[in-house]
Amino acid sequence: MTTAKTKTLAADGQAPAVPIPRTSTLSSARTRRLGLTVLGWAIACLIFFPIFWMVLTGFKTESAAIADPSLIFSPTLESYAEVQLRADYFKFALNSVVVAFGSTLAALLIAIPSAYSMAFLPTKRTKGTLLWMLSTKMLPPVGVLVPIYLLFRDVGLLDTRTGLTIVYTLMNLPIVVWMLYTFFKDLPKDILEAGRMDGASTLQEVVFLLLPLTLPGIASTGLLSVILSWNEAFWSLNLTSSNAAPLTAYIASFSSPEGLFWAKLSAASTMAIAPILVFGWLTQKQMVRGLTFGAVK
């Protein structure tokens, strides 16, 4: 299933690899290519194996799951059915989608003006501000969990999507600002100045020029933010219980009591990561394209 999907997604027009040295003969070039192919695929499969194995186990019966590892078994959807009986997957998935995309959108909206001013109206303090923002990311969440928990309880944000969205927005804001800053900074200033000569206000500059021109960068920033929010486990486990719990909480609910029921655990895990994995596969080219523009150029 995975190969079929990825084949189309990953078709890839990257720059040609290092050409074969002139001195080598045709046959040694062929050997080299074969070696590369084997090595490349072996490593890729090795890295991917745990995911593959998990997906496979989800289609096994519980007894087959703990038996000696084997690729040959009769697939069953039994575990999926049981898992769905225990907890409504779609409710958690919806929470994940709302919170991940909502927080990303909010973070982008707050970050764009900030990154704009840092990139185009820099002052002596700009660099310091940017670094300070990044340093707030280094606060261990657990260090401030208690106060946040108490605050959220008092204002009624516990176990709400809004509450979790706020936390994720703030959590990703520094990285979003920083990435946008690197993308914006790469835009030739002449273009914005030409816009200003043409009579564009700051808002028009941003809407008509800056955003369309840095769209690949903004998209890859957004994608990274969605992935980070989707996979975040600490806050979601501690700030939600039933109403707003996203998929990280869903999977955690299977971890302790079902620890030994590998097939069900695998089925649940597969469902929890499938959306973001497919999303990641679909957008990885976009992500790479955006990153090439800015941060890591």
Binding site: I191, E193, A194, R196, M197, D198, G199, Q204, P212
Partner: protein
């Protein structure tokens, strides 16, 4: 009508003074070129006129109104950037019509204005293309078209030709001159290339270190440079400088001793100079003449460049290297010894501060402007 006036304009960034008090008057329909080496402040000055940088002090007046606090779009100017600064995600038509769209001009009118500009610049077949699909020269024309559409009272050009190859640059130079005539607008043009300045300007403003060194017509600057810097900057190849010593000075000029002992009288005002004063004599390569019999100067030819019609000789004298532009057919070879001289009326003298001693007679072309050229041809044509 569009005139520009700068009164004691300065610009500082923290402790760095980039523009140190510039006064300038630009008349209606004039083609003014700011020229100077990298870092002289010419681009900053242009950006201040455009409104992209604020002036630290002084007045920027357009048509008699102070514009310091007015935004760039409201000064009635248009600017063509060195990098063209086309909007890469818009077609040529949208690029040119962007300012009108922001101003809320309706579609029909926008289209008409863009078509009109496109016609002037022969861009009509390219209107649907994106900038990526255009050549350098075409991009340049789109950038100019974008300026034309705004119908500005003053056009600003920031080194617009520096990204083009040599052949295209010559072609665009001609096109810009034609455009100036056709649009009949005031234009201010920044360049570091003195050839562009000489060929296009009605008035050249030579800047160095944030200070205006001289303002004048191209011929005025060529024949009567105010100081050693302007003398060296205007003209190509560069003017030669030789150390000389005053022998005698009177109302008809200054007699100086050349390296090698020869004496010549330069017709400049310097009657107060005492004999023995050290000066510098400036003489352009094209004014040096080979004279193997009685040339007062001599040296060894180090390099010889034959261009066909002319030959450049790089000659090592005792304590100076000079360039001579000679006829294409000279028979000299590398390492030959040559003698050469010059007509004394062609020479300039500079004092120890680098200031030129004023000429006693004005060159007949010094007051000529490009517009006079034009008028003359018109008369001839009629």
């Amino acid at each position: 009508m569009a005139t520009l006036q700068l009164n004691q304009v300065t610009k500082s960034f923290d402790d760095t003074h980039v523009i140190k008090g510039v006064d300038l008057e630009v008349n209606d329909k004039e083609f003014v070129v700011f020229v100077g080496p990298s870092g002289c402040g010419k681009s900053t000055l242009l950006r201040m006129i455009a409104g992209l940088e604020s002036a630290t002090s002084g007045d920027i007046m357009i048509d008699g109104t102070r514009m310091n606090e007015v935004g760039p779009a409201d000064r009635g100017l248009a600017m063509v950037f060195q990098s063209y600064a086309l909007y890469p995600h818009m077609t040529v038509e949208d690029n040119m019509g962007f300012s009108l769209r922001l101003a809320g001009v309706d579609k029909e009118q926008r289209r008409d204005k863009v078509r009109e500009a496109a016609r002037i610049l022969q861009l009509e077949p390219l209107l649907d293309r994106k900038p990526k699909a255009l050549s350098g020269g075409q991009r340049q024309r789109v950038a100019i078209g974008r300026a034309i559409v705004r119908n500005p009272s003053i056009f600003l050009f920031d080194e617009p030709l520096s990204n083009l190859d040599a052949a295209l640059r010559v072609q665009m130079r001609i096109e810009l001159a034609r455009l100036h005539e056709e649009l009949d607008a005031t234009m201010i043009y920044v360049t570091h290339d003195q050839i562009e300045a000489m060929t296009m300007a009605d008035k050249i403003v030579v800047l160095q270190g944030g200070v205006v060194e001289q303002v004048g017509s191209p011929m005025e600057l060529y024949h009567h440079p105010r100081n050693r810097f302007v003398a060296g900057f205007i003209g190509s190849p560069k003017m030669n400088f030789l150390p000389v010593e005053v022998v005698e000075a009177d109302a008809e000029g200054v007699r100086v001793r050349l390296p090698g002992g020869g004496v010549t009288k330069v017709p400049v005002e310097g009657r107060d100079l005492r004999p023995g004063t050290a000066l510098e004599l400036g003489i352009r390569p094209e004014h040096l003449v080979l004279d193997d019999d009685q040339g007062p100067l001599s040296g060894d030819i180090q390099v010889l460049e034959r261009l066909g019609g002319q030959t450049s000789l790089y000659v090592q004298m005792d304590d100076a290297m000079v360039t001579i532009m000679a006829d294409g057919d000279v028979a000299h070879r590398v390492h030959d010894k040559v003698r050469f001289g010059f007509e004394s009326g062609r020479a300039h003298l500079f004092d120890s501060d680098g200031l030129a001693l004023p000429s006693l007679e004005l060159h007949p072309l010094a007051g000529l402007r490009r517009q006079d050229n034009r008028a003359a041809t018109d008369v001839n044509g009629a």
